[in-house]
Symmetry: D2
Subunit: 438 residues, 4 copies
């Protein structure tokens, strides 16, 4: 028996703070309220429904994750939000049209109570949106200070013991890391100078970290993928996770590509198209935001397939990802993938996948798990990048010098073995020769 890690108990309330009170956030909040009232199940959430196998197959030990490690209870969660539109969570959820009208009616009271704080927002970074519920301040640094004040006030007024922040807002325009991102001092100076390289999402992340609040990035923005904020996280001892919630087509891709790799089937081409009609689709209709997303979506195949190891199999494939704003789809999202593969002696085969999914329905449990696992990490004294949460992200953050793991099943093994490790249980290797050789 290994020694379990010391983890502070999940006592008191947990503030879950979300920039962006749109489809994902309201589906998350409404869902949590519904689950608390027994009106629905938190399907898709490992923290709520997942188990971990422990020991040998013959032992039949498989406790719930939330019994193995101390996860905050849903009853203790309080949601806070910022958004450039002043709609409360009820109005925003109604507009998003993800959840049935009848369900939202039953949750009208708790949802109406979630009113967004004025946002740090500028249409320069998200060109297809604009709204009036926006903070004004002389500089980005002062905007950041205003967010810190929001965090402190929310925690105080809601009597919370701890907080985490999860970015659930739109995709910002593409930014590359530059000099001002390289070091914390320069970053803060650039904030003071309102440098255009400082995107709103960075201001939120900075505010969270300064307040000792763990931060997760659900969008493909650069945000915390910069040395300055990673330094700050380590300095403050808070965990980070990101980036870009892995749902829909990319989730599917990080499952099918590992199948090809497992069986060493060659890849000639992978053509992906998405149609979606929600605000996310509208935002991505802007080329600036689309580029951010596309870069995030395109990298998975390279990392999974390792063309440097397998030049004959994966050295020359054509990978395309298209995202099209198509209004009739609403919040439903539809992916169509065509995968051109080759088997034995190069004979061609094709896989076509049509995934009729729902964006926010897939994202909400991911956002919940990320929030609750970050809180766990913080109580376990883990700071900086939480690579074991790669499972939830299209572009997993990793330590410098490491390649990210995109394979959903490697990610799951990493997550579950990390939980076993925290609980002092044996890691699972699936070797299993001991069943056969005494």
């Amino acid at each position: 028996m290994r020694k379990p890690r010391s983890i502070a108990p999940a006592k008191g309330r947990l503030a879950v703070l979300v920039p962006g009170l749109g489809a994902v956030a309201t589906t998350l909040i409404a869902g949590v309220e519904a689950v608390k009232r027994g009106m629905g199940k938190p399907i898709g959430s490992l923290t709520q429904m997942g188990t971990v196998r422990l020991g040998k197959r013959t032992e039949k030990r498989a406790p719930l994750i939330r019994e193995l490690v101390p996860i905050a209870a849903l009853e203790d969660v309080r949601f806070g939000a910022w958004d450039p539109f002043p709609d409360d969570a009820y109005a925003s959820a109604t507009h998003a049209s993800v959840l049935d009208h009848a369900l939202l009616e039953q949750l009208r009271v708790p949802l109406s109570a979630v009113r967004p704080m004025p946002a740090v927002f500028s249409p320069e970074y998200v060109r297809r949106l604009d709204g009036p519920n926006v903070k004004k301040a002389p500089s980005k640094l002062e905007l950041g200070e205003a967010l810190r004040e929001d965090i402190r006030r929310f925690v105080r007024e809601n009597d919370c013991a701890r907080a985490v922040m999860v970015w659930c807002a739109s995709t910002e325009v593409y930014l590359e890391p530059s000099a001002v991102h390289a070091e914390l001092g320069r970053f803060e100076k650039a904030m003071a100078a309102s440098d255009p390289a400082i995107a709103p999402s960075m201001i939120y992340a900075w505010a969270a970290l300064k307040e000792g609040v763990a931060f997760a990035n659900g969008a493909p923005n650069l945000t915390v993928d910069i040395p300055a904020l990673q330094q700050l996280a380590r300095k403050q001892g808070v965990p980070l996770a990101g980036k870009d919630f892995k749902t829909g087509q990319t989730m599917m891709k990080t499952v099918l590509a590992p199948m090809l790799k497992a069986r060493l089937l060659a890849l000639n081409g992978w053509f992906s198209t998405n149609i979606l009609g929600n605000r996310d689709g509208e935002v991505l209709d802007d080329p600036g935001s689309f580029k951010t997303k596309a870069v995030s979506k395109l990298s998975a195949l390279q990392y999974i397939l390792q063309p440097e190891l397998y030049p004959d199999l994966y050295g020359h494939f054509d990978h395309q990802v298209h995202i099209e704003y198509y209004k009739p789809r609403g919040d439903n999202k539809e992916g169509w993938d065509n995968v051109d593969i080759e088997g034995w002696l190069g004979y061609p085969m094709q896989i076509k996948v049509n995934f009729l999914c729902r964006d926010s329905i897939l994202a909400a449990p991911v956002a919940l798990d990320v929030a609750l696992f970050l809180d766990l990490a913080q109580r376990a004294g883990m700071s900086g990048i939480q690579e074991w949460l790669s499972f939830y992200f299209k572009s997993p953050m990793v330590a410098e010098g490491l390649y990210p793991e995109h394979d959903l099943f490697i990610q799951l093994t990493k997550l579950k073995n990390t939980l076993r490790h925290l609980a002092g249980e044996e890691l699972i290797t699936h070797l299993g020769l001991d069943y056969y050789e005494p």
Copy 2:
């Protein structure tokens, strides 16, 4: 550093003996001949093209499997076959229409040299086929002895040092384990009495095991899934593997179901249909053979999804598998899957997969790997069921009391960690906290 296992070197020739010289076997044989001549690549084969990552990600060690452990070289392989049709491998491959005519022409000489020995065959067990190249003997025991004599002669005439047998023939009618299968003595008595419970595939397996030749079952037949033959394998110290090569739709299913399970998406229904037009399809058009196949195909979901652990998610799904003989498809096989799933709060989504695959192209490298890994196992002193080869089978054999692992990625982990174990390398757990915590 762990201690590597002692494995005898792969010296001398290896006889690969295949009951069934049809599409799969001829695609395998032609492919090996083509690869030896540099006319094609053994895509899909881990023994030929696969690597294993060793150590930490930062070490960048990923040798070829065949450099990590001693796999027999293709140059040393000699193919022998039995078939009720007297066509040689060239004629049979031409009839199967899997490989291009031009390629077969270039391989006419080596393929024509592979002429099938008379088969142990009866249309009672495969109702849609019949052929003249069949052994006659007073009893099934004597048929078995004739096969043993075939094996010894083939090994002798081809100057082979070792042999393995891989069943590549058709699916037999459905049989349930019965009293005559329960113990070796009764089994051999039943052979002598030509009991109908003794299927031809069992006679082949018995002959192989008696000769100390490892046996793998590429079809869903009962064959070695019976105590009598498992006893014999242990007694003789030879490895066994099976059953039913995992290709096409079931391979896909054991990838998508783990995705659902990983993300805890609920399953309402999974409708699978297959169209195929080759001899395999014709055989499966017989309800007796279809039942054998269907039982093999239906079990994967139950084992992967664990409804007993997740009754809310996987307690009530409708799983259907249809296989239709549709001549225009030829050896190409097409699967269509419709998967009805549920996410957060029970909202429904659908996944549709259309897999335009090629049966024998997917099966050939599987058959090759199974043959070569069985030979490795035998040289490593591993006998009885080789669960680490589950990766290749629709219905993996396991020790009594264990549930089989159907998840392709758990199977791959098992296979690769077994190779690491044999080579004395550290097993990989993907924990990886050491990259972050000194």
Copy 3:
């Protein structure tokens, strides 16, 4: 200007009598009630929303069909029904789950008022169903007389001027025409003797015709495809139409096959599978009922493609139709078609169609149009088979010696030119040379 046909005006109420108060009938009735209240549009109905182009393209004359010929108004329709289950239309519609609960609630009063009369029913003819609301009588002839009394009473009590009957009940087991069907006298004797060759649907049709009520067959049953009842229709001067409402996959097939034929693309194979989870699916899970349906579904391709004229193109295709009962689909129906075609010099191509449709949503407007057009035909003095209504049926009835037209567009031309003919307008040939040559 041609002379219009003399048609009696649509004065007074029209009884629409439906054997079978299941999903199709309740969707029809609820829809008509919703449309009357402005709560929905009768999408899919030519009598309600269709137009007919008249004259030259440059004239821009395109009146509504119901303005061109005198169609009964929805306000004048009264629905009567028979069913072996005693549920009223509200309860049955709720159970069918086709229409939203909220809509049904708003229509609870009119729907609850439609209570089924006891049915002529026997599980011998529809094996997967049974119910208590069933007529008892010493013979099938007396059952028929009881239905006639039902018709007279319904018309009287609802103060109707005219009536039509539309079979909306389940598919009966397969029956072939036999001696007792060949002539009216023998048919009625067989009714008196309760001959098994007299199916319930025939008793309904007989009762309708005897009462001078037009009859349409929405299912693939034999019913009025027999000389005895066709004689009766002519004798009584009432119109007949059938059989098997064309919706979903067959509608699609009678569109795609004409495309192949138009362009002379060859057909190698057409594989169709359907998944559906409603009572219709359950009934078709019985091989007897399935055979009836399959025969109806298989004939379309032969008639459209004319292999006798085009042996090279259509002489040798493999056509399969599968219907699978798959509960997760509910009343939604999903068709998957794979069509293997050949072009120039025989090069192969494939068309795959996935139709996510809704059975009753497609059938309801068809049932409405058939009812209203039959009433029109009767007022126009047209009796016997109404071939111009082929548009609505999978197996169109035709005069002896004629082949049926299955091509949806030929059927539409036939329907529209019949309407033009009735209205005394020029038929349209699309020649159009007069736009170019003075």
Copy 4:
């Protein structure tokens, strides 16, 4: 019996002149040579394999089109071509990879004999291509004169009695009709001035018309959709046809949209994407050429669905057409369509079509038919726009003031009734009441 039209017999050789010796043209030429040698069938060609039903269904008269009207025999066809690349038809067909290598080898002699004349070409109009086999001349008028000289020389050297020209080259950049296109005199002045509004395709068309040679436009270029050249055609008494060969996805669209319209199913959205990897795809990767194509592809739905007549059904749909250059597809083209429809009371349904087609295989018989029917028209004294050939085009040319017919089946009726008319046979209306009413 109507009076047949006087048509000159098809005596002597017919020159078929094609600008563009790429995939379509070489597939056409190789196919004709293969058919002449009995090595393949001209599948897809109405002039070669089509029949026309004459008279009543009971008459069973259905002669071949080429027996009903005098179509030129394939033996009499001589192909000439222009192309900026100097490859002969054998080399170009090999590069295009549409037809099997083995077939091309057998046709090497006749194909090698087709060597392209120097083209009128400029990369300003087709930005992704360039080649050395290009005419030089001081002005566009002189380029036109050089083409006229080419035509005369080809006809003379090949001893042809007649000629037609069919544009089989790439899609040019988008051009709008302008003042220089409005009248012949100004057009020719603009040619002399080498005005940029004069595209190469217009120069070819002008040269053909000046030589009395019928012209068809297989691409979506403006070309002859301008008053100047239509005047010239009428003046010269030569027929015109166009534009943009209807194959693949648009053919499918003009079949499915008529189905929706026939049944009055509402349309919410139609999302079309295409992947293709041939030179055509490369050319369309240029936004200028893509716009030309997209405009051609987008119009069909509006004309078929008539939103002005059916605002509730077709007033508000989202129609998108995407074309993506995806190399692994080669000359094969794959369309994926998602169609969002509504039925009874507005309930939504979806149709998905995946068409795995082959561009040139579909286009070659269309090009052949257009050439041979234009020749027929010319011998029948028909000049100017041949609307009866709309069947073959994505954007059918029509007389001013008329809307084009896009519905494939209306187009087929128009074509076949025109043939009946030319032959003096009764037009078919599908009324058919005479089978029922004496």
